[in-house]
Subunit: 145 residues, 2 copies
């Protein structure tokens, strides 16, 4: 499954003439096994410092621009990244207001259907061109309770 993701990323980057370098591969692999969005610091940690921070940020930007990663703006001004939805599937988040950690959350299909309908309706009723929706449940994670 992870190598499957890698193959898709490889394809996507090739299509856009963006090279899949070792640092980029490492970041994708790291996020592919994560259970939620990760900050640059967390990824750096995961990669055991094998990539300089400045390069890591650049890598994240490149992958975001290529549509491989999606940013998530969370608590305390830290941006966390995760695989884009076409790679990871649509999902939502549980956010701990205490420590800022973020976990993925599956959501009932009927709620999902309503959200989609809502988003769809918006485009037609307002000047706003809705692309996507983000649902986040805030609270305290098991560790912080």
């Amino acid at each position: 499954m992870q190598s499957h993701v890698l193959r898709q990323v490889e394809q996507r980057l090739r299509d856009r003439s963006v090279r899949l370098t070792s640092a980029r591969r490492a970041v994708v692999e790291s996020l592919a096994v994560a259970d939620g969005p990760r900050s640059a610091a967390e990824i750096l940690d995961d990669l055991d410092g094998g990539v300089p921070l400045s390069s890591l940020y650049r890598t994240l930007t490149v992958l975001e621009d290529a549509g491989v990663l999606a940013p998530h703006h969370g608590v305390r001004g830290v941006t966390r990244y995760e695989l884009a939805e076409w790679l990871a599937g649509h999902h939502h988040h549980l956010i701990c207001t205490e420590c800022g950690s973020v976990e993925d959350l599956p959501i009932p299909t009927d709620v999902e259907r309503q959200l989609r309908a809502l988003v769809g309706a918006l485009t037609t009723t307002s000047g706003f061109a809705a692309d996507d929706h983000v649902l986040e449940i805030e609270g305290r994670c098991a560790r912080c309770r």
Copy 2:
């Protein structure tokens, strides 16, 4: 309505022995007429620089701690503040992925009911203690289309 909000804030602060100084009043008034969360920079602008930046940040923190303001973590590591829900009512947001602006959004009651149910269910089924939910619709605002 605005003075109504002010009276409520006054009451709340008095209950907690926190003074409603002119800077604090100005911030609340500014947010009471805003149509969405505002960043420190935007509020500063609104107040025409009448409050030093450091004081403004301190004021925002004090009001947040007093439960008068709620933070919103949005695009590009900027925190935006809005009146807490007990003052402004429950609502959701339209977020422009282009310019980062945020507008308030009313939401159909049946969607809202399902969200509440979802949040309620979570607490019992996982280790996560859910307090609240945040729904945001991403897209491009009228100005950026």
